[in-house]
C-alpha cells in the first residue's frame, strides 16, 4: 500500500473517530469540543478532496438542489458551536439551482469556519439569484481580508494563512468545475464592514 492510499484510509478512520467525539460533545452540550471536532473533520474532508482533485478523480454530480435548505442546514450546524449569531438571508434565493450539493457544502462550510474565526458578533449567509448566476455569500463583521488578498484570483493566494489557503484553492477549483453553457463558477473575496466571501454558480 502506498502512502497516498494509507493516508486516505487514515483520514477515513480519523473522521469516524471525530464523528463519535462530536456526537459526545453535542450530547454533553460542550460547544467548544463540538466545534473542535467538526472543524478538524472538515479540514480532513478538504484535504481528501484536494488529493482527489490533483489526481483528477474529484467527480462532480450536478443535480437540482434547494439553496435555502443548504444554508439553513449549515447555519443550524455551526450555531451550536459558538456564541456568534449566524443568520441566513434567502429572500432572493431561487427555489432550485443546479450544483453538486456535497462539494458546495464543503466549500461553504470552510468559508463559514473561516468567518467564525474572524467575526466579532455575527456571521451572515445569503443566497441571491440573478439572470445568470446564483451567488452564495458568507460575510462576517471582523477586520476583513488583508489588502493583499483582495482582487487576486484564488489560485494566486498563498497556501499558508492559518490553513485557510487550501480551502480557498479548493473553493476556486470546485467553483470552476461548475460549468454550464460556457459559464464557469467563480470565487470572489471583498471587504464590506468585514470579510465577504462570494461563490457564484452559473445557471
Amino acid at each position: 500500500m502506498d502512502f497516498a492510499e494509507l493516508a486516505a484510509f487514515t483520514i477515513h478512520d480519523v473522521k469516524n473517530r471525530l464523528a463519535v467525539l462530536a456526537s459526545r460533545a453535542e450530547g454533553k452540550g460542550d460547544p467548544e469540543m463540538l466545534h473542535g471536532a467538526l472543524e478538524a473533520a472538515a479540514s480532513l474532508t478538504r484535504l481528501l478532496a484536494w488529493y482527489k482533485a490533483e489526481k483528477g478523480s474529484l467527480g462532480i454530480d450536478i443535480d437540482a438542489r434547494v439553496p435555502a435548505d443548504l444554508l439553513e442546514e449549515l447555519a443550524a450546524e455551526v450555531a451550536k458551536q459558538s456564541t456568534l449569531t449566524v443568520s441566513v438571508d434567502c429572500h432572493a434565493a431561487p427555489n432550485l439551482w443546479f450544483y453538486d450539493e456535497s462539494l458546495i457544502r464543503m466549500v461553504l462550510l470552510s468559508a463559514v469556519y473561516n468567518a467564525m474565526r474572524h467575526a466579532r458578533q455575527c456571521v451572515r449567509l445569503a443566497a441571491v439569484e440573478d439572470p445568470q448566476w446564483l451567488e452564495f455569500s458568507v460575510s462576517d463583521d471582523g477586520d476583513g481580508y488583508p489588502e493583499a488578498m483582495l482582487g487576486q484570483s484564488v489560485d494566486m493566494q498563498p497556501l499558508t494563512r492559518h490553513g485557510t489557503g487550501l480551502g480557498l484553492h479548493l473553493a476556486g477549483h470546485v467553483a470552476a468545475m461548475h460549468e454550464n453553457a460556457g459559464l464557469h463558477g467563480a470565487i470572489e473575496l471583498s471587504n464590506d464592514n468585514g470579510a465577504v466571501f462570494r461563490l457564484r454558480l452559473p445557471r
Binding site: 477515513h12 473522521k15 469516524n16 471525530l18 464523528a19 463519535v20 462530536a22 456526537s23 459526545r24 453535542e26 450530547g27 463540538l34 471536532a37 467538526l38 473533520a41 474532508t45 481528501l48 482527489k52 467527480g59 454530480d61 450536478i62 443535480d63 437540482a64 434547494v66 435548505d69 439553513e72 442546514e73 443550524a76 450546524e77 450555531a79 451550536k80 427555489n95 432550485l96 443546479f98 456535497s102 462539494l103 457544502r105 454550464n180
Partner: protein, 540 residues
Amino acid sequence: MAIHSPYSDKSILILDDLPEMRSSLRTQVGTLGCEKVAVSSNVKDALEQFKTTTFDVILCDYYLAGGTDGQQFLEFLRTRNVIGRGVLFVMVTAEKGYESVVTAAECLPDDYLLKPFTAETLKMRLERLLEKKKRLARVDQMQDKGNWPEVISACDQIIAAKDRYLVDVLRIKGNAMLLAGRAEAAVDFYQTMIDMRPMPWAKLGLARALQKVGDTARCKETLSDLISESPRLMAAYDLLGELHLADGDADAALATLDSAREISPNSLARHRAIATVAEEKGDFERVEQALEQVVKKTRNSPLRETVDFARLGNALTEMGEAGKAVTLLEEARTSFKGDANNPLLAAVEAVAQQKAGHPEKAAAAMERALQGDPSKLDARVAMAVAKACLTTGRQEQAQTILKNLVQTNPDSTELHDRVSAVLRDNGSPELAAQLVSESIREIIHLNNEAVRRAKSGELAVASEMLTEAAHRLPGNMQVVSNAAAALLFDVYNNGLDPVKLRTAQSFQQAVQAQAPSHPKLAEIAELMNRIRSKYAPAKK
C-alpha cells in the same frame, strides 16, 4: 412524560458495524424524540428485523462488515421488494463519491449524510425528506404498483405546482413514460430536460428512449458522450453493452463492461453483468471468473443469490468440470433453505450430475426442475430446463417446453436461434430447424382458424380455441389479447356469460400489466364499454 415530536410514531432502523457509531447515531436519533428505534450491526440481523417490523426510516452506514456495503444492502431491499418507495433510506458515509457508482435509479438512496454531522443536521434532513415522501406519496404508491400511467398523472400534478420537487418528479416521470411504453414521447421529454440542463440522468433517459424507438446510432452516440462526461455512471455502460450485444458484437460488449468494472471493482452488479455477456458469447471461462467473485463475496451473506450459484455451476459443467459443479450445486441446494426447488438450480444440477456419472441423482434433480408449470418460467430458465431434459433423455418434455417458448415469442428470431442451438448442442440436431418452424406454423394456423370461425359466426368456438391457447401461452400477448377480444365479442353477441366475462377481464389485465402499450387494448376497452351499455339496463 411524553414529549410531542413528529418522529415519535416513526419507526427507525440504524445499521452500522461500528459499535460506537451505532450508539452515537442512536443518541442523535433519540434527541429527536424517536421512540421506535431498532439497531443492527449487520445485514443478517437487519433482515431479521424486517420480518417483524415495518420501518419508516433506515439509516445505513456505507461500510458494513462481512464483505457487503450499504449499497448492496439497498439494492437487495429494493429488488426483492422488502421495502417500498415510501420508506426513507439514508446512506451515512464518511466521504462523498459513492452516489454515482450505482446501476439503477431505483437503487439510489433517498439521501447521503456525510459524517460527522450534528443531531440538528440529522433532524433538518429527516424533516425535509419526510416532507418530500409525504408530497410524493401517491407517486411512490403508483410506482410500487407498477401503474405507470397513474405515476405520470400524479407527477404532472406536482410538476404543475413548480415547487422544490419539480426536478425529482420530472426524473420519475421520464422513467414512467419509458415503462408505460411511451418511448417516442420520452425522447422529446428528455431532450427538453437536456436543453434545460444536461444532467446525467436526463442523458441516460434519452439513451434508453432512443434504444426503445430503435435509433441505435443516436443512442450509442449519447452513451459515449455520457460515459466520457460521467465515467462513474454504471448504467450507461450496461446499456451500451446491451446495444453491442444486440449487434452481435459480444467482444465490444465485454470490453465496455470491463471498463465499468475497473471503475467499480467491488460491485456485484458489475461481475454479474460481465457473466451475462460472457454466457452469451459462450466464454465460460469468463463466466466462471466473474461469478466465482460474486459467490466468494456472498457465500455467507444473506444477500447471496441462488441464480449466481446456478450460473456458476452451469459454467463449470460447460468447462468439463462437472464434479466441481456438483459440489457447488449440492452446497447451494442444501444450504439455501426455501430455494432447494429453484427450477434453474435443479436443471443445472441435473446436467452436472448426468455428466458426472450420477444418473439417479440427475433424475432426482430433474423431478425438482419440473415441479412447477414450465410455461410460467422465464425464457432463460425454461431453456435451461429444456436443456436438462435433453441431457437426461427426456426428449418429449424438452420439445413441449421449447415449443411453448417459441409460440409465446413467435416474432423473436433471437429466441428461435437459441432454441435451435439448444436442440443442436444437446443431441437433437434433426429437430433444430423443424421445431421452430412447425411451432410457428401451428400458432399462425390457430389464429387464422379462430378468425375464420368468428367470421362464419361461430363466436363461441373461436373464443374457446383462443382461450385454451391463451392459458397455454400466457406470455404471448397477441394470443392473450385476441382471446380477450374474442370472448368479449362472444359475450356481446351471445349474451352475458359471467365466466367468459371474468376470463376476458383477467386476460385484459394480463396484457395491461405486461404490455401496457399493446394496440389491441383500445379495442378491448371499447368492447367492454359496448357490453356495459348493452347490458346495463338489464341489471336493474
